[in-house]
Amino acid sequence: MTRIAGALPLLALWAVPLLAALVMAIAAAASSAAWTALLVHPQLWPALGLSLWTGTAATCLAFICALIISAGVYRSPAWPWLQPLAATGMALPHLAFAIGFGILIMPSGLVARLGVGGDTPPNWITTQDPLGLSLTIALALKEIPFLVAMIWSLLAQGDTAAHLEGQWRAARSLGHGAGSTWLRVVQPQIMRRMTWPLLIVFSYGASVVDMALVMGPTQPPPLAVIIWNDLNHGTAANNARGIAGAILLTLAIGSLAALSLLALRALGVAARPLLSAGPSPRPAPRFIAAASVGAAVLIYSAVLMLLTLLSFAPRWPYPAILPPALSLSSWQMLLTSSPALWLSLGLAAASSIMALVLVVLWFETQPRSRDRWLLVLAAASLALPQVLIAAGQYDVLLRLGLTGDIIGLFLVHLAPVIAYAAIVLAAPYRSFDQRYIAAARSLSAGPWRRWRLVKGPLLRVPLLTAAAVGFSVSMVQFVPAQLIAAGRFETLPMAAVTLTSGGSRSLSAAFALALALPPLLVFLAAAIAGRTRWR
């Protein structure tokens, strides 16, 4: 009975609508004409290759950097500060980062202005390069904070932290340096739990549209951009081709992800002799880690600074080091959207709290064996191109009469938040040492007391992380929200996209900062509240 009751809300509010949306979307592509049109598209295969390449390269790059940073900072005095730092980086929306990073490196960007000068910008190919390298680097830089935060929360979790502490001492007493201990003891134990976060990073990178439009190549563009153009092209034939393209991209992402998992496993087997190679005094890679963190902080600071400056500068022609004139017009225009800001904040708060309740209810009542389905659906919903899911969600909500309705709007905000909450919470929740609960039970604590006084506090870090991630995801939710709102509601991202579609970079910068600020505050609050206090 409790078992059914615990799963029902999650199934009714999330899983069933999501599956229905998928079925609707796939049914819409069940026309052979759409597939034929897709397969004769001259850019299809190079575009698909580009999508997979940028996604893979960005994921590898970001993961390697995140591991090096974690290895160098773990158990150092800087370790507690890594989480708030990563949270700051995560809070900046992807598109905002791409805009700011582009203005740093493009031919007429700040680097060229400072380093080259002259009347016309240098002939650099630093953005929109044919191989998508600038897109890859921008994606990787943007994902490093997310992966670092994931690693941090895995290691900081109460019981794991205690076990690792002892193992750390044991390894040191056996002659292993800090770097060797990380490589042989800590890292192997977190690799498997990083699977889902890596999958999200990969699928996001391979299906991203907004960053690709700013940084990515155009001839051919990544496949996601072609899909996006098709879906926005109005005609039914193009829509169908777009959905077929989205399904193809999804299948490709899924297959490559499966292959990567096998490769990662093979890598684990290949690296096995490393474990038994014997003690090595290898120190922690403090220097490389510090240099990486320093470089990332420098780039993010430059991006934030450039965005701030741009938001006050209607025009900033090459080769001026500073804008010729400053103006408040972008911020004044932003102020006209304050109702949209309040609506977004409300939706973000409500959906992150609701998602936590539903997901925790699931984990508390469902056997572990059912997690797989939850996680597959969650990861799939994040991995599928947003436009595809959004089209299906719209179809479903239209039939339920929930378009142009606040409930429909809430549900589409809730969907990705639940997916992230499930993925962020799954590993910590299931690896929770049940002996604590047994102990509490032996002290005659009831279920609510056990949760409130034992499990909740011990899982405080992942719970707060999930809430903060959910909040920020909800804040930037755009594609489905736009469809469901049907013009009756306006959220901040909608205002941002419509008001900046005229191409004003200054206004884009102002909105980027406005979108970044609330998640940033929530992340910092979560990081401060999540400091472990039970040492």
Partner: protein, 398 residues
Amino acid sequence: MSVTLTRRRLVSLAILLPFAGAARAAADWPATEAKAKGQTVYFNAWAGSEQINAYIAWAGQELQSRHGITLQHVKITDTAEVVRRVRDEVAAGKADGSVDLVWINGENFRTMKRDKLLFGPFAEDLPNFALVDTAGKPTTRVDFAEAVDGLESPWGMAQLTFFGDGAKLGQPPRSMLDLLDFAKAHPGLVTYPAPPDFHGTTFIKQALIETIADRSLLPMPIGKEQFLAVAQPMFNFLDALHPHLWRKGKQFPPSQSQVKQQVADGELLIGLTFNPNEPANLVATGELPATTIAWQHAQGTIGNTHFVAIPINAQAKAAAQVVANFLLSPQAQARKADLAVWGDPTVLDLTRLSAADTALFTAQAAPGSVTAPAPAIPEPHGSWVPLIEASWLERYGA
């Protein structure tokens, strides 16, 4: 799949049939105005410009005080989304649609007309339609070579216009051949957005018009074979142009707004727009320097009209017609044409207005305005567009 779709469409048509009869009622204008009172019109209009949004807000105030109509501006990014929304709503049998009025033209109009998603005909029954310059501005009745048939009401004019910093340009190129010479002299500093970006497609259409041997083919439907034959001079021109473009013509910016930004940053010398007054607006907001100039090709550039239309499942059809009529009024059109407000050229024939109304249209010359307007050339027939886009993609896409 196709079976269910057809059935669904039949059902929705049956639901919507009673509304179709309402079209003629527009002739009885006072009754329409009376019915419109108190209605709310959800006007779905692109909102990427502060000036446009402010103008629509002004129209809303006027409509409220004059007709008791609430005009709600639904701020959208892309009209194709609205088309899809209406199509989905109609397919789902939703008679109380979310859209009452939509800012539309070209392909989106053709799609809605073909799929019978539009209310009407109503446009030519609007009292103010008599003032429209249908002779001098034939695009007010033929939208991208598609007959309007009173299914949308003209609102404003657009024409392909180029701009750049006069201090850097010297003599701007006023034909595609001049542009080729200019690009050779300034390698890497000229480009155009990649189709299917609307401006990119228009640039190529302009090249087609300027290079094709027989222009009389353009308003007619065309097939692939014939297209490839008659468009050969255009491809020759593009082949010659591309090596001198930005990134040697191997990469193209994805959008017009990126081109505009690159011009502002100094990465490119020439930008393009479909609103002849956009450069002047950008000078006014400080995004382009005061030395900006705007021009059109001497032999004329592609021009078109943008309209407002009423979806077949709109809730406030009467009020939507009153809004469309108001938007055609001399006062609304004059305010829209004012550079300080929006700067969108009027669809009216000024000779048909009273002296007092004509006086509302004061000529202004602001920095960045077009100084020597060229004739507007109508868009080619809609069947050319997919062929242009597909063949461009095949030749230059990968």
